[in-house]
Amino acid sequence: MPFTLPPLPYAMDALEPHMSKRTLEFHYGKHHQAYLDNMNKQIAGSELEAKTLEGVVLSSWNNGSPTPVFNNAAQVWNHTFFWENMKPNGGGAPSGKLADAINASFGSLDEFKAQFKNAGATQFGSGWAWLVADKAGKLTVEKTPNAVTPLVEGKTPILTMDVWEHAYYLDVQNRRPDYMNTFVEKLIDWEAVAKRFEVATA
């Protein structure tokens, strides 16, 4: 059975003015869709079809020597995760156990934001910035190139920011720092992140 893309959790224009409808039309409608279509073509008729998406990602990672399927499968997974951690009128601050964990791991929310944006800025080329939680609730910021995801290291991401140029070029062109500020201040769905944190530390 071929995989399908979950619908976006909101309308294409719902994240305006922080992320334009035009960006969503291309990013979801073309990039994310193409990763899915290409993955389906690659795995058609193979035993990968019977796995979950995560299973396809881990299998195609092939212990660090990824097969051609990995680039598509991981990007399908990464982008679904990305849409789910944004919301209209997002941003603000986390609360409860997640807020406590951020303070414990980084000292303050501001320090977390600085480290997260620095990860996005120093991921030269294409990639992702991540917030990762371990079972004990310790949080770390990571960055990965291209399609790579903390999943392949057996880690549990709870937040991600796409820093491939296609994520922001139509809106702010070369100004990646502006995009990252907007993402952190206006787009993060802290409730979604908190739910993932809860699952990660259960």
Binding site: F26, K30, H31, A34, N71, F124, G125, S126, G127, P145, N146, A147, W164, E165, H166, Y169, L170, Q173, N174
Partner: protein
């Protein structure tokens, strides 16, 4: 306080790259002002709008005046910090600066070549003479070469470049791709023609359809420049 010494970028690219890289780095514009060493952003050999409709003026302005300019600024900053660290014998700091030097230095080298590899469509002519003969000998025809080059370059994962290079040892032409801003010289090839496939090189115009960009760009390739580089590389 910068030492003002010329730092050969080839040092950072590894032993194997030295002959190819040194020849390349020496072509970069460099100035020393008040004892402070600095690489310079070159001017384009044509107006920003000169490659239309193949590459829009908007893309060329951003690509040259923002992206390439940032590589130059950040390269100079990293080199100045490196010189400081070196004079303070701070080895940890020197090591920590290497990725920024490699990335921004590679970006500067690559784009410096790229602008010269392109020209307005009306000035572009197909390759001839020795270069054409070498291309036909290796790939059968110019069309087969461009199709192979485009296919390999379209397949670059994430950001990177497609290159036609000359293997210094075998004197043979080769197609290669590099990730991010990794310089071709690190693969022991002298760069002759590079095509940037970072999304910033084409996104505003071609969006996600990288293959359309790769099909169109052949119209503005400056084969005369490629032939000059080929001649110099064989010497």
């Amino acid at each position: 306080m910068a030492s003002g010494r010329v730092i050969n970028l080839a040092r950072f690219l590894g032993r194997a790259a030295e002959p190819a890289a040194a020849a390349q780095s020496s072509a970069l514009q460099y100035s020393t002002v008040g004892g402070v060493a600095a690489y310079k952003l070159p001017d384009l050999p044509y107006d920003h709008s000169a490659l239309e409709p193949v590459i829009s003026g908007e893309i060329m302005e951003l690509h040259h005046k923002k992206h390439h300019a940032a590589y130059v600024t950040n390269l100079n900053k990293a080199l100045e910090e490196y010189a400081d660290a070196e004079s303070n014998k701070d080895l940890q700091k020197m090591i920590s600066l290497q990725s920024a030097i490699n990335f921004n230095g590679g970006g500067h080298i690559n784009h410096d070549i790229f602008w010269t590899n392109l020209c307005p469509e009306k000035d572009a002519a197909p390759p001839s003479g020795e270069l054409l003969a070498a291309i036909e000998a290796k790939w059968g025809s110019l069309d087969k070469f461009t199709a192979t080059f485009s296919a390999k370059t379209a397949a670059v994962q994430g950001s990177g470049w497609g290159w036609l290079g000359l293997n210094k040892e075998t004197k043979a032409l080769e197609i290669a791709t590099c990730a991010n801003q990794d310089p071709l010289a690190a693969k022991g090839l002298v760069p002759l023609l590079g095509i940037d496939v970072w999304e910033h090189a084409y996104y505003l115009q071609y969006k996600n359809v990288r293959p359309d960009y790769l099909k169109a760009i052949w119209k503005v390739v400056n084969w005369e420049n490629v032939a000059q580089r080929y001649k110099a590389a064989k010497a």
